[in-house]
């Protein structure tokens, strides 16, 4: 097929095209770097507009996955089908759903160590990654289950989410790589652009009454314990190294940590979310097969695959910007294909030194 115009590519990105046309364009993108590049630019522009205008339209709305393809694709079908006067409420609910999905990832962290000193925070750290495959039917089922809930929860009172600043990026020379606090993987014989990004931490302080009202409206029999009210959870992402090349980029950093207040059992937070009735059977079964969910960062998606990278489990996200995420010895790696899908990310990852 000849190259589609920008409008059609945006329709593809927004999942607004008929299924057969969507499939043809997906196949076209597999071998057309020009269209893949255009698609990425459109995504950037769309994410920018979405982030800014979403902020205006739903001010103070804290949507953790704002600007991401996944978040958009989850939210989009829900608000599209909603009646006008209910649309805003649906978006709020979907933002919360996205937050819950993300929370499965954020809170599913391994207790790398539990401090022996009772009055110190518990620290949980990611040790492996796992897929959670959502089919189109799953998304529809979740959407319908959420629409069936009757409570109109105000996201502003859901809790407080704060960051302690903005990310700061600092360029690095090749010589400075030896000063990093960890040794990143790099491709042999290639020079790239190197940088270090300091990422602000995020503090989440839930209002338990409001969260529980939401859980109940979704049919949950389980709720968060009242003792969690006002307790602050902190997500810390250490400085992250990025190496950029013409056809891919690789991020390396220490595994993110979740600090949980003293006396809080992380299972009391996880279980009500995992047992929510809104999850379709297929999703529930997948969660059940992850025997050590608390040791796992769960990555949801419609086209994700488990892979092994030199003996370490990873997840390959196979969209138009294929991305491979894996974790090994306390470091996580995110390898992104910027060539329009020409790279074999698994082979590339295994060749890094």
């Amino acid at each position: 097929m000849k190259c589609p115009d920008e409008g059609t590519l945006l329709g593809y990105l927004d999942r607004e095209l008929p299924a057969d046309q969507h499939k043809k364009i997906r196949q076209h993108l597999d071998y057309c770097p020009t269209c893949s590049s255009t698609l990425r630019e459109l995504e950037d522009v769309r994410d920018f507009a979405s982030a800014k205008l979403g902020h205006l339209w739903e001010q103070d709305q804290a949507c953790p996955v704002s600007g991401q393809e996944q978040g958009w694709s989850y939210i989009q079908p829900a608000i599209r089908s909603g009646k006008k006067e209910r649309t805003k409420m649906h978006l709020k609910k979907w933002s919360i759903a996205a937050a819950l999905i993300l929370a499965l990832g954020i809170t599913a962290y391994v207790p790398s160590f539990r401090t022996a000193v009772a009055d110190l925070l518990q620290v949980f750290r990611v040790e492996k990654v796992e897929t959670l495959t959502l089919t189109a039917q799953d998304i529809t089922d979740i959407q319908e289950a959420m629409q069936a809930g009757s409570a109109d929860i105000d996201m502003e009172s859901f809790g407080r989410i704060e960051t302690n600043g903005q990310p700061v990026e600092r360029k690095l020379t090749r010589e400075e790589l030896s000063t990093l606090p960890f040794r990143p993987l790099l491709p042999a014989g290639r020079e790239g652009d190197y940088s270090m990004v300091s990422v602000p931490s995020v503090e989440i302080t839930p209002q338990v009454d409001k969260v529980n009202a939401l859980l109940k409206s979704l049919g949950s029999q389980e709720t968060l314990p009242q003792s969690l009210d006002g307790k602050t959870f902190k997500v810390t992402i250490a400085d992250t190294f990025t190496a950029r090349y013409s056809d891919f980029e690789l991020m390396t950093g220490p595994s993110p940590e979740l600090q949980v207040p003293p006396g809080v059992d992380i299972q009391q937070v996880l279980q009500p979310m995992i047992n929510l009735p809104i999850w379709p059977e297929g999703v529930r079964k997948q969660l059940a097969t992850i025997s050590d969910l608390e040791h796992t960062l769960v990555i949801p998606g419609t086209d994700v695959e488990k892979v092994m990278i030199n003996g370490s489990p990873g997840v390959l996200i196979k969209d138009y910007t294929p991305t491979l995420i894996w974790q090994n010895h306390g470091l996580y790696y995110i390898l992104t294909d910027n060539s329009g899908g020409k790279l074999n990310l698994t082979e590339l990852a295994e060749s890094l030194e």
Binding site: L10, G11, L42, D44, A49, Q59, Q68, I79, L91, V199
Partner: protein, 91 residues
């Protein structure tokens, strides 16, 4: 104090966004607002009386204009920057 600063930043950003929208052609602004409300391409075509096949093109153009206006640069002169690293951490 930090919360107060955050609120002020949000108010400022809101004003900037509203100002940007006001400087766009009215149909672009309307298209973006309706899209943010969650309207489908088909609904946008009906509401604005345009061909469904043109919605994507008009939307792409409106988004680019919005960004260019917001960033205060002339159209076509700036490269679209890469997505932020923070997003990519979980993206």
């Amino acid at each position: 104090m930090e919360l107060m600063a955050t609120t002020m930043e949000k108010d400022l950003e809101r004003m900037e966004i509203e100002d940007t929208l006001s400087r766009l052609p009215w149909r672009d602004g309307l298209l973006l607002k309706l899209r943010m409300e969650g309207r489908s391409y088909q609904e946008l075509a009906e509401l604005l009386d345009i061909a469904p096949a043109s919605v994507g093109t008009m939307l792409a153009r409106a988004m680019k204009r919005f960004r260019t206006e917001y960033e205060g640069k002339e159209a076509g002169q700036d490269e679209v920057p890469r997505r932020g690293n923070v997003i990519r951490l979980f993206g």
